[in-house]
């Protein structure tokens, strides 16, 4: 028996590449995985292990299923019985479903989520585009232009990642009120863009560094300036990296409550703020709440499922490299 723990052997740079290997296009790695699959055979055959895995999967799924099913049930049914009671009805065709809740949540005067849906969208797009552009430029300079104080500046920005937003909110809000822009989309865009920069610069710098030096040198020899190198050499290579951070930032902004609550006002609130408000004021109206929650969830969910691959890559690059 080896009772002494083995020292850590995770080569931290390997992780990203491992994660990308799930596609079927790498025959060499697949055979290795297959070999290990054979070696690992029998591991899951333990009934307890399978049971535990299935239990966790069910526990993690059922709450969302409950919300989804409930959002399509008629209001009276929701008040009278639990969502699981529709299951027998599914087989004999007695289960009743309706889109009324969605109609009411989106256009009803009490919730009017369609307006806030537009707001969320209007807030999110610039709040993703602007910080990524600024961060790309800064990351380029940190990776490929020599200048005095570069290291210190980069470390300072890296360290800013841990500053909680809370310390910046009140003074910023006061400035926004002073210039009379408080509650407009402008301040929400600006705040989101600034708060995103430290992580964005750090992540994109990581990707930027991985580009072979020879490519940049070659372009330089050809007489290209930094702007040309940035746009013509680096940007095309960075598309996957940009995609992974864009998903991050998209999820963060769309799902954000604190920044929206602080800097937006009733005319510019994002969905999250409105839905949270409804949870407080109409706590018992589950027909509206479940539909409203689903409306606020669906867009990030679709983006996430469609672009999961990029998201995972960004996740691994962000937290394991470093």
């Amino acid at each position: 028996m080896t009772s002494t723990p083995i020292p850590p052997v995770v080569p931290d740079t390997d992780l990203t590449t491992e994660a990308e290997l799930e596609g079927p296009s790498r025959p060499r790695k697949l055979t290795r995985l297959e070999k290990r699959a054979i070696a690992a055979k029998g591991k899951l055959s333990s009934p307890w292990a399978s049971f535990l895995a299935i239990l966790i999967a069910i526990l993690w799924t059922i709450p969302s299923v409950g919300l989804l099913v409930t959002s399509f049930r008629p209001e009276l049914d929701i008040r009278r019985s639990g969502w699981w009671t529709v299951i027998p009805g599914l087989f004999n065709g007695e289960a009743e479903f309706t889109l009324d809740n969605y109609d009411q949540a989106l256009y009803g005067s009490g919730s009017n989520l369609s307006t806030y849906f537009v707001n969320s969208f209007v807030i999110t797009l610039p709040a993703v585009v602007i910080p990524i552009t600024l961060a790309l430029l800064a990351a380029y300079a940190f990776a490929w232009i020599e200048f005095r104080g570069r290291e210190i500046l980069f470390v300072a920005i890296f360290a800013l990642q841990v500053v909680p937003l809370q310390v910046a909110l009140v003074p910023l809000l006061r400035d926004y009120v002073d210039v009379g822009l408080n509650g407009t989309f402008w301040t929400v865009w600006l705040s989101h863009s600034i708060f995103a920069l430290p992580l964005a610069i750090f992540l994109l710098h990581n990707f930027m560094k991985d580009i072979p030096r020879s490519l940049v040198e070659a372009a330089r020899v050809d007489g290209a300036g930094h702007v040309k190198i940035f746009f013509q050499v680096l940007l095309p290579l960075l598309v996957p990296a940009i995609a992974s951070f864009a998903i991050f930032q998209f999820l963060w902004v769309w799902n954000d409550l604190l920044v929206g609550l602080t800097f937006a006002d009733t005319s510019s609130y994002p969905l999250t703020v409105r839905v949270a408000e409804m949870a407080g004021s109409r706590g018992g109206d589950w027909h509206i709440l479940t539909a409203g929650a689903f409306i606020s969830i669906i867009v990030p969910l679709v983006v996430f499922v469609a672009l999961q691959r990029y998201f995972v890559r960004g996740l691994l690059a962000g937290s394991v490299k470093g």
Binding site: M1, L52, A53, P171, P198
Partner: protein, 329 residues
């Protein structure tokens, strides 16, 4: 030009959005075009064009306000009178705030440990199984859901109906209690357990993150180590305890500290589910209450600074563990 600040129709809003993006592109384009002359432009101007916007943004929008907040935390609620560390004394000694700090501590300890534990166990269990991708996606999905959405999802699970004949439970958890012959509970009201029922929501969200990172680390464990251990007769729990966990230790540290930092700032869940009532208040939500409901500038600033200070031990732990890992290697 009202629509520039107060757009009312969707058309105006989208118009404003595209205008903002256009404005940004034009300004940045002009700056870059201006410096795109190799040899004729000094290097520091080029650097300024690339780094300047981001650095100015951060200095103005993050560093400066943070310093103002630290300064404000030394003044009274209106910001007129210097009170030294009084706000911090209030935050650490008053019963009300001690409860807030205690709750935050419970969150920061329980959420990372349980999410990471469940995450690694699940990652090991589904590793290289036939349904791995699908199984992972199920646990992964809550990460895309906003904390507000998650709070409503779980609020519905916890929904309580009085225990009377003719009244059906509509919340799943209470129905389970009824099936088991137990009386239904007001999960979000009964102290001190309500904090744990809120914590469940955060664990539900964060486990997917832990699982993803740890699963990648597990896949990176060299085959020969696993093989050698197998020949030594290790399997099941022994393999997990003596091979898997020590091998992914650096990833474990990253996951634990990342989740701990996210949990420290927990705000949305508490605000949406209980509003901080019934003894569930945490620092970030108390900050919001003091800053924007009570208008107590001194105390709210102190709470924000405390949040900042509490991050530091987590980072120190992270850095020390990383150093340790590198030394061993």
């Amino acid at each position: 030009m009202d629509w520039l600040t107060e757009p009312s129709s969707p058309v105006e809003k989208f118009g404003l959005m595209f205008l903002a993006i256009l404005l940004f592109v034009v300004v940045m384009g002009a700056i870059l075009l201006a410096v795109d002359r190799p040899k004729r432009i000094p290097r520091w101007v080029v650097v300024l064009a690339f780094v300047g916007p981001a650095v100015i943004g951060l200095a103005w929008g993050l560093v400066r306000p943070a310093l103002i907040t630290i300064w404000n935390s030394l003044f009274d609620r209106r910001g007129n009178e210097f009170v030294g560390l009084d706000n911090y004394v209030t935050a650490f000694t008053t019963d009300q705030f001690q409860l807030v700090l205690r709750n935050t501590a419970i969150w920061v300890v329980v959420v990372p440990l349980l999410s990471t534990f469940i995450g690694i166990v699940y990652a090991v269990l589904v590793d290289r199984s036939r349904f791995e991708k699908f199984a992972k996606a199920l646990v992964f999905l809550p990460m895309a859901i906003s904390m507000v959405g998650a709070s409503i999802i779980w609020g519905f699970v916890y929904e309580f109906r009085p225990d009377q004949p003719g009244v059906n439970q509509i919340g799943l958890l209470n129905q389970v209690l009824v099936w088991l012959g137990l009386p239904p509970q007001q999960f979000l009201i009964g102290q001190p357990w309500n904090t744990f029922f809120l914590i469940v929501v955060m664990i539900w969200i964060q486990t997917g993150f832990a699982m993803t990172i740890l699963s990648a680390a597990i896949k990176a464990i060299p085959d020969d180590i696993v093989e050698a251990a197998r020949l030594d007769g290790l399997k099941g729990w022994g393999m997990f305890r003596y091979i898997t966990v020590p091998s992914v230790r650096p990833a474990l540290v990253v996951v634990l500290t990342t989740i701990a930092m996210a949990t420290l700032k927990i705000f949305d869940i508490v605000r949406t589910m209980t509003g901080g009532q019934f003894g569930t208040q945490v620092v970030a939500n108390e900050f919001y209450t003091q800053a924007f409901r009570q208008n107590n500038q001194g105390l709210s600033s102190a709470l924000a600074v405390i949040l900042f200070i509490l991050v530091i031990p987590i980072i120190v732990y992270n850095v020390r563990q990383m150093r340790l890992a590198e030394e061993i290697r």
